[in-house]
């Protein structure tokens, strides 16, 4: 393992971008048909991606030195002129998270959702490519490009399966994101105009030396850029598109979208900690208080939304908002301890929300089965863009003596599985023990209560008290809302036939929840990892130094006798 990674580094850094891109190209060449083949290719690619992300995490933890910054120059131009990819603990962690969600969503989709429209598989891989690229890049304009790749693929994925709710919310989603992209470009242009560079590390060096007259412009540029990120992160009041879009998306897409808001938060964190660290002089922690209060407002909005809504998928969408509000507010304090806890919380809550999106689909389906016959083709005829799902067994499926689908037969424990998975998701999202949401919130609360170490007399600020109250309050509201929904869905109905679960659909949910449990079981090493990531973020000297000092690989001709022939 170790020698393999040593051999592959630093080229392993670009693999999370190249792999999905190559897979998407191959699958596009395969055309509209041959879905089983594409499904296999896609699953293999996702497994490989998971392995690569795991290797990068392993590298960052064990082999990368104290701060673990790996730099890759894709076209071998000297810094700061060429584009740069950088992997550090945070990027590696986010890569791993996105590949887990990708694999889970894909396995779920292979059961049936991938048949609901064309080009599901290539779009899925392109979305992963955009996500991975955005996590890896260390260059503002590249970040824009990867954002656009991810968004364009997400437009297609959101519309996957079609139907009026998806088209309607897709229209709003695209319009909002096109506007956000304009903001992104304005922010990037201002920052470029002020600092003369697009490389984040180089820009971080320029920031303390900016003249007083330009500082306002720098702050304005950073704030406009932050708006673009916060739209993605689902910050109030820029998040009214989120609940309709996420709840209209098909289940596997919703599961993958759970990480898109985290990408927004990640971008804020990355750019903000690099440009405005604690020692940046006049600009130190610029916008931090605003981020805290925006996060608090988002958290409040999300918590009220969860309790105000009746529909499970909308509840899940509001849980996304709660989770990203919690993260924004916690990160805005700029304290490594809080950030470390928040990153740990992000892992558990993203996995739980993703599993929840998948679970909702199964729960809703089991409810629909006793309310209408399993055969929904009539529905399709009335509404050409309706729910084009083939509940009838396909021709190549084995049938048993009663001509029932073998792979779709109810296992006796199906309802128990759904119920237990539901409880696990709720406990994680609400932050109750014994799952990882509780540990994450506990670490954040501890760090908030002791802003400068356990022994220090300095108490928490007003914002910290507010956030603490809201963290607990939001947990309470989530618990109330979801247990209300749970009792309505699982306990109220009588004489319902046991739901039919397929292994391939239950497997991702079970695996994600096992991972949430592993997060608790292995809380100590994982918290060490996130705390190290947080320290690296809030003290970016090592990051900047490593990136700036990276030299391009000398080309064989240039170093030889007759180099640089012109």
């Amino acid at each position: 393992m170790r020698s393999l990674i040593e051999w592959l580094m630093p080229h392993l850094i670009i693999a999370p971008i190249l792999l999905p891109m190559g897979t998407a190209v191959i699958m596009l060449l395969l055309g509209d048909t041959r879905r089983p083949l594409k499904a296999v290719v896609n699953v293999v690619s996702c497994l490989l991606g998971l392995f690569i992300a795991g290797a990068l995490v392993y590298w960052a933890q064990k082999m990368g030195g104290p701060q673990a910054v790996g730099v890759y120059l894709p076209s071998n131009w000297p810094i700061p002129y060429g584009i740069v990819l950088v992997v550090d603990r945070l990027s590696a962690m986010m890569l791993l998270l996105s590949s887990i969600l990708g694999l889970g969503g894909l396995l779920f989709a292979v059961a049936r959702w991938h048949k609901a429209g064309v080009h599901f598989h290539p779009l899925f891989q392109l979305q992963l490519m955009g996500l991975n690229g955005a996590f890896l890049t260390a260059d503002l304009f590249n970040l824009f490009v990867f954002f656009e790749i991810m968004l364009t693929a997400s437009y297609g994925l959101l519309l996957h399966g079609s139907g009026w709710p998806r088209v309607r919310s897709g229209l709003h989603y695209i319009a909002v994101n096109l506007l956000a992209s304009s903001m992104f470009l304005i922010g990037v242009a201002i920052l470029y105009g002020v600092t003369g560079t697009l490389n984040l590390a180089d820009m971080a060096i320029m920031v303390p030396a900016i003249s007083e007259g330009d500082r306002g412009l720098l702050h304005a540029g950073a704030a406009i850029l932050a708006i673009a990120f916060l739209v993605k992160a689902g910050a109030w009041p820029l998040n009214f598109w989120l609940a309709p879009a996420y709840s209209a998306a098909s289940a596997p897409v919703g599961a993958l979208f759970a990480i898109m808001t985290k990408l927004g938060v990640y971008s804020v964190l990355r750019v903000w900690t690099l440009l405005f660290p604690n020692d940046a002089g006049v600009s130190a922690l610029f916008g931090g208080p605003a981020l805290v209060w925006i996060g608090i407002a988002t958290l409040t909005f999300g918590a009220i939304g969860v309790i105000a809504t009746q529909h499970l998928s909308r509840m899940a969408s509001f849980c996304v908002i709660v989770s990203s509000g919690t993260l924004m507010a916690a990160l805005g304090f700029g304290q490594p301890g809080v950030t470390g806890g928040a990153l740990y919380y992000a892992l558990g809550s993203t996995l739980a929300i993703s599993a929840f999106f998948l679970l909702i689909e199964l729960v809703e389906r089991s409810r629909e089965e006793d309310e209408k016959p399993a055969y929904v083709s009539e529905l399709d005829m009335d509404d050409p863009f309706g729910y084009p799902v083939d509940l009838m067994p396909t021709r190549d499926v084995n049938l048993d003596d009663d001509e029932n689908e073998l792979i779709g037969q109810a296992i006796p424990a199906a309802m128990a599985f759904l119920g237990l998975a539901f409880i696990a998701c709720v406990l994680t999202m609400a932050g109750l023990p014994p799952f990882s949401g509780f540990v994450g919130k506990f670490v954040m609360l501890t760090a908030l209560l002791n802003p400068s170490g356990v022994d220090s007399p300095a108490g928490p600020s007003v914002a910290a008290w507010t956030l603490m109250a809201l963290l607990i309050g939001a947990g309470l509201l989530t618990t109330i809302a979801l247990s209300r929904a749970g009792s309505r869905y699982f306990w109220a109905p009588q004489n319902r036939p046991a739901p039919r679960l397929r292994v391939i659909e239950s497997l991702p949910i079970g695996a994600m929840l096992v991972l949430v449990a592993v997060l608790v079981w292995q809380a100590d090493p994982i918290l060490r990892y996130t705390n190290a990531a947080a320290r690296g973020l809030h003290d970016p000297k090592e990051y900047i130094g490593t990136v700036i000092s990276t030299k391009p690989v000398p080309s064989p001709t240039a170093s030889g006798e007759g180099g640089l022939r012109r």
Binding site: T152, S181, S182
Partner: protein, 113 residues
């Protein structure tokens, strides 16, 4: 030249914002396009505004911003134009789908009384 460019960006951006806030999908699309023109010009303005200067190095002329225009914003604008064009086309497709499904061109798919 600065004044003209600033006015153009302002007019394009202002019209774009106004159109984006209109209730018809096609107006929103036009607004987004105008906004992206404004943004592209803005990126140009953030490089350096100069007449009769090119971004390609010529022999015998010192390569600095006195003698050349900044090539980077041009590259950025090119990328931004391509991406903006593609996403606008995609928006147009969704717009047509929405029109077909709802029989109205209102952004919410239903007319406000």
């Amino acid at each position: 030249m600065e004044i003209i460019l600033a006015m153009v960006i302002g007019i394009l951006g202002g019209s774009g914002v106004w159109l984006v806030l209109r209730p018809r999908t096609f107006q929103v699309l036009m607004g987004l396009s105008l906004l992206s023109y404004a943004v592209n010009l803005f990126i140009f303005a953030m490089g350096s505004l100069s007449l009769d200067k090119e971004p390609i190095v010529r022999p015998g002329l010192v390569p600095n911003l006195e003698n050349y225009t900044d090539p980077l914003p041009q590259a950025l604008v090119l990328t931004a134009i391509v991406i903006g064009f593609a996403t606008s086309a995609l928006f147009l497709v969704v717009l047509l789908a929405s029109r077909g499904l709802s029989d109205t061109d209102h952004v919410d798919g239903e007319e406000r009384e």
